[in-house]
Symmetry: C2
DNA sequence: ACCTGAACACCGTTCAAGT
DNA sequence: ACCTGAACACCGTTCAAGT
């Protein structure tokens, strides 16, 4: 006689993300998540190995909720779409977003995004042996800016100022790619 | 009759930094720091407002222990020296370093580094109205890479691979500055 | 099979008390 | 003036027990 479970892993992660969005990462405790799910803290351990696993799950949520760009678009627009999507994710989940920079990029979600960038770079004409490095440099630049922006390191500048900063970052990445295409010819 | 204190703020921060270096940020608890200082946890509250203040102090330690470049050098070499110094700090204190990206850059230590970059950019020929933005972009790029490297996001690549990545980042920053000098002329 | 209650070792922080 | 002891509300996690 198997009773049906009253909640699943998705519900746990959803509750954790909501808490982080509302009250910061420190508010994501096993007890608070459990209360939100409507269950005792110990029940969470069925869906989640421990707290680190819960946090890993939140990062994964950010990465997978984030839409894959339409593969029919030209590579420039796919990269633009990915950058815009990542920025939207950062703005929506500023408390969790910095964790992206502190965990190994080996999860399915981060692999999926990385492969999309690889494909765009190959299509742009970057030599195969250069692609992995270019992706590491691009993602470091992009995440560095977005975490700075989301974490408030840059101070409370107006949206206009931050948008202009973001445009500069995009320009830097575009000319970096152009230089790599040149070097690959 | 004023007894002389058995420890000061510097000793508290030093103990906290040592713990972070040896065992990670999670090991920096008030109790562990106190044990290391040789005192009860409550005694720390004389030197430190609370735990957040302790962590702020660690970030500040990183920023001030970091050497100011010789002002007689040409601006290119001052920026190179600053980049190299920051990378050495990141490698020495990988657990604390990511916090640099998550706290407002308004402390004396971060102001000091920022002003040094401002001066170098001005000397390079970047227009005054452009300087603050260029600094925000440069520091985001640099910190994004260094936190990725220190935090292990990039995986366990060899030192040679990471050095080459770092060279690419330096190149990106150099051509960004060149473009801004051009636009300022 | 799924969830809970009780328990453990720890955490940050307060406050009155000791010297 | 400087530090401690006792206490509080919380934390992550375990394990045996309930249904």
């Amino acid at each position: 006689v198997s009773r049906q479970p009253r909640f699943d892993r998705a519900a746990v992660l959803q509750a954790g993300l909501a808490l982080a969005d509302e009250s910061g990462l420190a508010a994501v405790t096993m007890q608070a998540v459990a209360r939100r799910v409507g269950v005792t803290p110990m029940a969470l351990y069925r869906e989640v190995a421990d707290k680190a696993d819960l946090l890993d799950g939140l990062v994964e949520l950010l990465l997978t909720d984030f839409p894959a760009p339409d593969p029919d678009l030209p590579w420039e627009q796919r990269l633009e779409a990915a950058a815009a999507g990542l920025r939207r994710t950062a703005r929506r989940h500023p408390a969790v977003f910095p964790l992206l920079l502190q965990r190994p990029a080996t999860t399915p979600g981060s692999k999926r995004v990385r492969e999309a960038v690889y494909a765009a770079l190959a299509e742009a004409g970057v030599a195969g042996r250069r692609i992995a490095r270019v992706e590491r440099v691009i993602s470091s630049i992009m995440l560095g800016f977005l975490v700075s922006e989301a974490g408030g390191r840059l101070g409370h500048h107006s949206r206009r100022v931050l948008d202009a900063d973001f445009d500069h970052i995009r320009g830097v990445i575009a000319s970096l790619i152009a230089a790599q295409v040149q070097a690959s010819a």
